[in-house]
């Protein structure tokens, strides 16, 4: 589904992605972790070309993201992206938020889009909040609307960039539950997160990045109990303290 | 059009342009100084506790802001003689500029004063500083920091406003262009040269504004 081949990216002089070689198969859930500045957010943002890459090949759903002739609009319609800061449209209700892209990009009729929107919002547990504005919702609720907004496009891939990092602790679980359900349904997911419990339960593989490189990638049982890399061990010891 | 552009004539008129350039500078400068005085007075009246003073200042400020400068200039130019007051055009012009800019300056100063958090004043009071000390060490330095950038903006506005004084026969930059048009039928050479002079002043003032903003940000960083 997603193929990184010898991918490099620089921010000026900073070598933020250094020779990335990674493959994510259909239906796979990949969790990406690492210290801040490791490049994990940048990596996931390259997948739908929110950030362009300078070297190497990036092929998503058969389309060449690195090629600037590729029609990204079509590809982005197949990828749902959930931001750390939610980025819900404040001037629209939850229902309008999730129905906007289907009507404008997939050209679905307004009524169909609204019906779908109601259904998906119900699925994430917000059926009674469809007419609420983001300002009236808690952080956890807003993030669930953001997930619903991605799902309404019926994407093939869902990307999550630290979806719970901006949430108060008591709201983290409601979002993780939605994500777990999604994984259970076979969605291809790449999740940048520090929530190791989620990784253990749901990920097919866990990858750790440091200084622009993927230093280790393994299924969770292996990753957590028997990390091969010294830096992985160091990182795990720091974050698994609590 | 450009082939016919006569640089020699511009050189010939350069003494006039330079004289008018200086005139524009001193007219704007006088206006700026005057407006600082008028503005400070009006601001003090506006924020005073006296309803009469505050009201009078409001009337002044609102009248100026709701009427065009040109109408105000004509008001003084045609109106003062009918009261028996005779003065040079330059004086009339400076008065009009002063009163006009003074109203805007008053609002700038008022915004500056009100932007200082009241907690600072309380801190000053509780350390035992008296009114003048609080003014000098706490309020005025900060008010200055907030007001210098918009005041530089006012300076730019004054320079441009001074062009209107050409319409009451004052010899300044725009008038130089008009003279070249009427004497030599060369409006292009005349007004484009005028424009260039104004742009020089504009970019100099803009640079000063940029430089002073950097310095001021530095101060707040401490």
């Amino acid at each position: 589904m997603i193929i990184f081949r010898e991918v490099h990216k620089w921010f000026g002089k900073l070598h933020v992605l250094n020779d990335i070689n990674l493959e994510v198969g259909a239906g796979e859930v990949l969790v990406l972790c690492g210290p801040s500045g490791s490049g994990k957010s940048t990596l996931i943002r390259c997948i739908n070309r929110l950030e362009p890459i300078q070297k190497g090949e990036l092929i998503v759903d058969g389309m060449k993201v690195h090629d600037h002739r590729t029609n990204m609009r079509k590809l982005r319609a197949e990828i749902g992206f959930v931001f750390q800061q939610f980025n819900l449209y404040p001037h629209m209700t939850a229902l309008q938020n999730v129905a906007l892209a289907p009507t404008k990009v997939r050209k679905t009729s307004k009524r169909e889009a609204m019906d779908l929107g109601r259904q998906v919002l119900g699925k994430v547990g917000l059926g009674d909040k469809i007419d609420s504005y983001p300002a009236q919702l808690s952080g956890g609720q807003q993030q669930r609307v953001a997930i619903a907004r991605g799902l309404c496009m019926r994407p093939k891939i869902m990307l999550f960039d630290e979806p719970t990092s901006a949430l108060d602790p008591e709201m983290i679980n409601e979002v993780l539950e939605v994500m777990k359900d999604l994984a259970g349904e076979g969605m291809t997911m790449v999740v940048v997160t520090h929530e190791m419990g989620f990784a253990r339960e749901v990920a097919h593989r866990v990858a750790i990045m440091d200084m622009g490189q993927v230093i280790e990638i393994a299924p969770p049982e292996e990753f957590f109990s028997n990390p091969k890399n010294e830096r992985t061990r160091l990182f795990l010891s720091k974050i698994l303290r609590h | 059009m450009l082939e016919a552009f006569n640089f020699r004539v511009i050189l010939e008129y350069m003494p006039l342009f330079l004289k008018c350039f200086m005139a524009t500078l001193w007219l704007s400068g006088a206006g700026l100084l005057g407006s600082l005085m008028a503005g400070t007075l009006a601001c003090a009246m506006r924020i005073s506790n006296s309803r009469a003073l505050s009201g009078a200042a409001s009337v002044y400020i609102e009248s100026i802001r709701s009427t065009p400068l040109l109408a105000q200039i004509y008001f003084f130019y045609f109106g003062l003689p009918s009261l028996g007051i005779r003065m040079t055009e330059e004086m009339t012009g400076v008065i009009a500029l002063t009163l006009n800019s003074g109203a805007y300056t008053a609002e700038i100063l008022r915004a500056g004063f009100q932007s200082i958090p009241f907690g600072q004043v309380e801190a000053g009071v509780s350390s035992g500083l008296n009114y003048f000390q609080r003014m000098r060490y706490i309020i005025l330095p900060q008010a200055l920091g907030v007001t210098i950038p918009p005041m530089l903006g006012q300076a730019i506005v004054l320079v441009k406003d001074s062009a209107l004084l050409s319409l009451i026969s004052i010899t300044e930059l725009t008038r130089a262009g008009q003279i070249m048009t009427s004497e030599r039928f060369m409006p292009a050479e005349g007004f484009l040269t005028t424009a260039v002079f104004y742009l020089i002043i504009y970019f100099v003032l803009k640079s000063i504004a940029g430089w002073s903003e950097k310095r001021l940000i530095f101060r707040e960083g401490r």
Partner: protein, 222 residues
């Protein structure tokens, strides 16, 4: 004497009202045109194309750095040399529209830049085109920041329209200028002119302040 002047003034009232109508016409057309062009330029300035941004920016700087009077003279006196002969009214509207467009362009660009970057990213990530992003996500949010200064700019343009009286456009200011030749009571005549402008501008200024409060505050000083 005074009664004579007052009755003369009263007789001139229709003349002034015609002038008022002309002021409204010149301002109105320029505001409409300036808003349309200003929004277009403002949007263009915030796109990825740096060249267009700098091009428009250079033009805006030119217009903001020179007095409007000089711009009016350039349009009226210099364009004929390039083959474009405009009468007073069209020349006035052209110059005022351009002035408005430049200032409104800056207001719009600032408003668009004030929308959090994440909003644009979310819209991009859903696959919306640039136009769709602008229309459904960015502009609705930018309007809160744009509307109050926009109305303020309208007031400034109405006042600036008085300058076109210098090339003979028969607006309120020109009506005053012509009347004062016959009725040498500058205070009365231009007092009337002031009142007429006041009637239009004062409510608009307060509309702008009201909008500013309603939209959540920010700094508008003009």
């Amino acid at each position: 004497m005074w009664t004579y002047y007052l009755t003369e003034l009263a007789h001139s009232l229709p003349f002034f009202l015609k002038g008022l109508w002309m002021t409204i016409a010149v301002s109105g057309i320029s505001l409409a045109g300036g808003t349309a062009i200003g929004f277009a330029w403002g949007i263009l300035r915030t796109r990825k194309n740096r060249f267009i941004d700098h091009l428009i920016g250079a033009w805006v700087d030119l217009i903001r750095g020179t007095p409007f009077l000089v711009q009016v003279f350039i349009v009226f006196f210099i364009l004929p040399e390039a083959g474009v002969h405009l009468e007073a009214f069209p020349a006035a509207v052209l110059a005022l529209t351009n002035l408005g467009a430049c200032f409104i362009c800056e207001i719009v660009a600032a408003g668009i830049r004030s929308v959090p970057w994440g909003q644009k990213e979310a819209a991009t990530a859903s696959g919306l085109t640039e136009l769709q992003q602008l229309r459904y996500v960015v502009m609705p949010q930018a309007m809160k920041t744009i509307l109050p200064p926009l109305v303020g700019q309208y007031v400034l343009l109405i006042k600036d329209s008085s300058v076109v009286s210098a090339i003979g456009v028969m607006d309120v200011t020109r009506a005053g200028w012509l009347t004062v030749q016959r009725v040498p009571q500058g205070l009365l005549v231009f007092g009337l002119v002031g009142i007429l402008y006041f009637i239009i501008c004062y409510p608009l200024i307060h509309l702008s302040n009201f909008l500013e409060r309603k939209m959540g505050g920010g700094t508008t000083s003009f």
